[in-house]
Symmetry: C2
Subunit: 228 residues, 2 copies
């Protein structure tokens, strides 16, 4: 019998490099009606004469960029605190909402950090390639021409409770294109992490528990399938 994965027992060693982010308090309030990021609702429909319904919410589209540094043969990922991941781990497989402040001793904020490819939400009136180029520069500090972004594929972020379009690009960079440390803009606290091809292969090896989203798995598998 396979039990539910225990993300709480992930070794803290894995998070030693995350000390640049210090989270000291976490709490929840109801979703405001004017949220600019998610819109929940119930969809009703008649299928083969039967009335059905499904609870869903709308989110915005996003871009995703697999970045490979050819000078050093490293794949470029970013680490950051993800509130949705942290809450998912602290509440397990239930829809219970925590009251009051979250116990940071019982649930260290490090549990909410993920390792992801470069990505960003489509919230401005620019081409997807231009948005992707901006994210590469802001998050990991490489300045690349837009026409160096190879379109890989469009797919969906989900199909059950929500869905949006993800447009995935591939981009090769070299050390000479590094113009800043990256790390995000404004309030973002993002850490750039370079992985060797072998380390990336280990990330998606059979038996893994990856505390990151499906984009990490897709980007890594696609690279290993198509570029090695």
């Amino acid at each position: 019998m396979l039990c539910r994965p225990d993300f709480e027992s992930l070794s803290l060693l894995e998070f030693e490099i995350l000390l640049l982010s210090d989270i000291t308090k976490v709490w929840l309030t109801p979703l405001p009606k004017n949220s600019q990021w998610i819109k929940p609702y119930r969809m009703h429909y008649i299928e083969n004469g039967r009335r059905k319904s499904r609870d869903i919410f709308k989110i915005l589209d996003s871009v995703l960029v697999i970045v490979y540094n050819v000078s050093r043969k490293k794949l470029i990922y970013v680490r950051q605190f993800r509130p949705a991941v942290y809450h998912s781990i602290t509440t397990g497989n239930s829809l219970q909402i925590q009251k009051g402040e979250v116990d940071l001793v019982k649930f260290p904020p490090e549990l909410g950090f993920t390792l992801e490819p470069i990505a960003g939400v489509v919230d401005k009136d620019k081409s997807l390639a231009d948005i992707a180029r901006e994210e590469v520069c802001e998050e990991c500090g490489y300045d690349v021409p837009t026409d160096c972004l190879e379109f890989v594929m469009n797919f969906r972020s989900g199909v059950g409770a929500s869905s949006s379009t993800i447009t995935m690009f591939y981009c090769e960079v070299c050390d000479a294109q590094k113009v800043s440390e990256g790390g995000g803009i404004e309030n973002e606290v993002i850490q750039v992490v370079d992985l060797s091809i072998n380390d990336a292969r280990g990330l998606v090896q059979t038996g893994s528990t990856i505390n990151s989203g499906s984009s990490t798995v897709i980007a890594t598998l696609w690279f290993l399938c198509n570029k090695i």
Copy 2:
């Protein structure tokens, strides 16, 4: 410049096999507070002394099974209507909620159909492998022993607006294990679709637009990377 993908222009030929599902009316209402499927809220936190917030919602964990029929060398997928996908396509990259009935002439329900691996939500007190085995039987009609399910990896369904754990299995089946047509239980309208390895490779080839979720991409890439 790469433009936003136009899912509306997907060839209807692709959907000819979906006539088993007839959707005649679609409309939306606000999310009830007692939803058993999603819980929206705003998470607040202090990071490096700065107060931040993020709008998120909680969803349940799920299992995912890559099913390969070794008798016929076919990968087994399922097609079904996904309200979240349909709404995402009809509203594009905005959070606008449609008023009244959705115009089914302008937006044919076929736009909301996806091609996915076998999957199911973790909403019962059984082991993940047992839930996965049940889904294989209910959705595509193969009766396989639980110990034939190979654990592949755990990852997350998302990191931005929501996150839950996805536990992915691989399962080889043969024609002798086919005990029913599949198609789901109760009100489910699910169509089993077998793809050759070449067709599956085409699904995730560079340049594709896949009107399905990340699980379809991950399952297909993982199979091509590890079993071919």
